[in-house]
């Protein structure tokens, strides 16, 4: 299955892209699975997405948890804690 992953603010700059399509094996079909998959790229991915770092994940434009399941075609956004207002 494939999900569309969006990056915002500092993470967009760190990864050098605003969006990418990521193919995930079916056994990794959750937010946790996607994060593991991205961290396995090493370098900035491993550092910036380490569990000790502060960031948020939204699935289909709703705030998500680490256990939120993913489905083919989902839009996943990964971003730093928000600072609007």
């Amino acid at each position: 299955m494939t999900v569309s992953v969006l990056y915002f603010a500092r993470l967009r700059e760190t990864f050098g892209m605003p969006q990418e399509d990521v193919a995930l094996p079916d056994h990794a079909a959750s937010v946790a699975g996607l994060l593991d998959h991205l961290r396995a790229r090493g370098g900035e991915w491993q550092t910036a997405l380490a569990p000790t770092q502060s960031y948020r994940v939204a699935v289909n434009q709703d705030m998500a948890e680490i256990t939120t399941p993913l489905h083919d075609g989902d839009e996943v956004a990964i971003f730093p804690p928000v600072t609007g207002g």
Binding site: L6, F8, A9, R10, S54, A58, Q61, D62, M63, E75, A77, F79, P80, P81, V82, T83, G84, G85
Partner: protein, 151 residues
Amino acid sequence: MPVRVQEADFDLSTEINAFRADRPEIGAVAAFVGLVRDVNVGSAVSGLTLEHYPAMTQKALQGIVAEARQRWAIIDALVIHRVGRLQPMDQIVLVAVASAHRGEAFQACEFIMDYLKTQAPFWKQEQTPEGARWVEAKASDDSAAKRWTEK
């Protein structure tokens, strides 16, 4: 419950007048306006760029307003949040809440602002003499939002 995200500035009087027009049941309007300051965490700030997640912003703000409507007997709420490049003294955000009496309006207005600060997908990047820097989220904003769940 109008929610708008825009680059353009807004005029407080125009917005409030339109918001309460032809609604004689409104007895109170509480409004909050957030502004760009010229200093933050010890550095001079010459400007600000506000980034957001367009597909999610509207949905998140609507959700926060809907939550406020469940908690308080308010008549309506208005949220305007600006994005793009801003300068010190510019207006960033307007939250206005209308109700029959002041208590609900005051509380719902503060609730919407507290949740907006921690839930709505906006990010500020400041221009300082040391270069551009992303604003860090504040723990005090998290505590401000959390106190509404402890009541």
